[in-house]
């Protein structure tokens, strides 16, 4: 015989409290208000040929037919200050938005959607950010990574609810082997309401031990960048974020068109 739902919910709540030290988001985030959505935090790069974003129209996907939507991209500078927004109206299931150039080297943004009739589904915007290195390149795609940023497009763009939380210290080791001929650029984004520090450690296979690299202090909704060369092995990121997952670009001086981007 199944336990009544109330007991199930109580057990779930107790489990969340017991293991809250491992939760990347608020332990009890609360329900979204009608029209609110949760977005990942995406990266914009101002030093490449073009940036695009692939935005999903979830209500249309559920309905199986075109539904009018306004996609809004809300931008933040490296210190987390609002940089304005870009809106596109569409009824397509997916819309690829070419991002207008911003007056910064890099920035972050979130995706929000507005429908004539607010959806009751609690939607999560995890889209795809696309990076074109030169005008002769295809766009390199990477899907949304982490965020927990709640937006309501009917309200001021400056009012967001941030669900990401810091906890005790974590180590996060991307499972990617770096090589000495690579130029590695890390973009560390911070969706927490607090300023966070991320230390970069370098581990060489076969040797053991580690070498300390730079420490980045990232404001809320902001982003910091560091470039590393001559790596031979793995990077480990030490922070108070259970999910600290930089976006990484790998280029090579010996091969001008090498442009690998992935979220860790």
């Amino acid at each position: 015989m199944n336990a009544p739902p109330t007991i199930g919910r109580l057990k779930e709540a107790l489990r969340r409290v017991r293991h809250r030290g491992f939760h990347a988001l608020s332990t009890f985030p609360g329900a979204l208000a009608p029209g609110e959505t949760i977005s990942d935090q995406f990266l914009y790069r101002g030093d490449i040929a073009a940036n695009r974003f692939v935005a999903e129209n979830t209500v249309a996907l559920v309905a199986g037919e075109p539904v009018e939507v306004t996609h809004r991209l809300l931008f933040f500078d490296p210190d987390g200050r609002s940089l304005g927004e870009q809106s596109v109206d569409s009824s397509r299931f997916y819309t690829t938005i070419t991002i207008d150039p911003l007056p910064v080297d890099f920035a972050t943004y979130v995706h929000a959607t507005a429908y004539r009739k607010p959806s009751t589904l609690q939607r999560h915007h995890r889209g795809y950010s696309l990076y074109q290195r030169t005008s002769q390149s295809v766009f390199a795609a990477v899907h949304g990574n982490f965020g927990g940023i709640v937006t309501d497009p009917s309200r001021s763009p400056r009012r967001h609810r941030l669900l990401a939380r810091h906890r005790a210290h974590f180590l996060y080791t991307p499972q990617h082997r770096f090589h000495p001929d690579e130029q590695v650029t890390l973009y560390v984004m911070n969706p927490c309401p607090t300023t966070e520090t991320v230390e970069v450690l370098q581990t060489a296979p076969g040797v053991g031990g580690h070498r300390r690299g730079p420490a980045l202090t990232v404001p809320s909704l902001g982003v910091r960048c560091c470039r590393l060369e001559g790596l031979d092995g793995y990077l480990t990121l030490r922070s108070r974020l259970p999910t600290c997952r930089p976006l990484i670009f790998v280029e090579k001086e010996s091969h001008l068109h090498h442009f690998d981007v992935f979220h860790t």
């Binding site: 990347a24 999560h124 002769q136 080791t173 076969g206």
Partner: protein, 274 residues
């Protein structure tokens, strides 16, 4: 969540690779130290004539990693070899005929799922992502798959889009599945592809097609992970993109994850196509 790691045979001169390390990926610790390292082997399996065959078992140098390539194993397009991490002294064959369960590098409840680096090399450039094939998906022998065309590219620099659907199941019996590509607006079937269980289904989608249609992909009999590759034109400098698409569950927050993804699947999996 423990995982397998697929090594794919691909066309058009693309060499796939898997790099698996001994390092734990995510752990909670106050110390400033390297990540924990594990003593592990990697066993390579391929499904042949309805049975799993172990091709090799290799120790992973500790602390360090192991890289395997599809060219090194001479994989033909569509072929799939599965990397199964195992504890150093563990027997790999449990005797039940199923693909052995992998071991885990997890040391605590840290949230990030286990991964390896899946790389794709073409004309001297490499694109990679942190990937895996979850055991819970491989445990299911009958399922459904729905994916959308968000990552098909068009435009003057694009040479080709390649959809690679990875289907992995612990059961080795040969079963044939069918993949449908359809125009989402016109509800018109564009083409179908058949593929075997424990293989990768490869479909080229020309950029002209991606420019004019919203192309969705479905299977009503199997699960799978779709990987989208985009290659530049052969007469341009090489560039490429590799990414896997979000499953429908990712469109919803925790509360509506199951109900929302079921609603999407109900809409598109049951849709009649002309």
């Amino acid at each position: 969540m423990t995982c397998y790691y697929p090594l794919l045979g691909l066309p058009h001169g693309i060499d796939a690779s898997v790099t698996f390390s001994t390092f734990s990926h995510n752990e909670r610790t106050a110390a400033v130290r390297p990540p924990r390292s594990h003593s592990l082997d990697v066993a390579l399996y391929r499904a042949e004539r309805g049975r799993w065959r172990c091709l090799d078992r290799l120790p992973v140098p500790e602390p360090g990693d192991l890289t395997l390539t599809s060219a090194g194993l001479d994989l033909a397009p569509g072929e799939l070899v599965v990397l199964v991490p195992l504890e150093r002294d563990r027997r790999e064959d449990p005797g039940d005929g199923l693909l052995p369960l992998p071991c885990s590098k997890r040391v605590d409840r840290s949230p990030v799922a286990e991964r390896a680096s899946l790389g794709f090399r073409w004309r001297g450039v490499t694109s990679s992502y942190q990937g895996e094939y979850p055991v819970r998906m491989a445990q299911i022998d009958q399922g459904t798959m729905l994916s959308f065309d968000a990552l098909f590219q068009s435009g003057p620099t694009v040479g080709r889009n390649l959809l690679c659907l990875v289907n992995l199941c612990r059961q080795p019996e040969e079963v044939e599945h069918r993949l449908e590509l359809f125009d989402a607006h016109a509800h018109r079937l564009m083409r179908t592809a058949t593929y075997r269980r424990n293989s990768c289904c490869l479909v080229d989608v020309p950029p002209e097609e991606a420019a004019t249609k919203e192309v969705f992909v479905r299977s009503t009999t199997s699960l799978g992970i779709p990987i989208l590759l985009t290659l530049s034109r052969e007469d341009l400098p090489p560039s490429m993109s590799v990414e896997h698409t979000h499953p429908p569950t990712e469109f919803f927050s925790e509360r509506d994850r199951l109900s929302g993804s079921r609603a999407i699947k109900r809409t598109w999996l049951g849709m009649a196509l002309s």
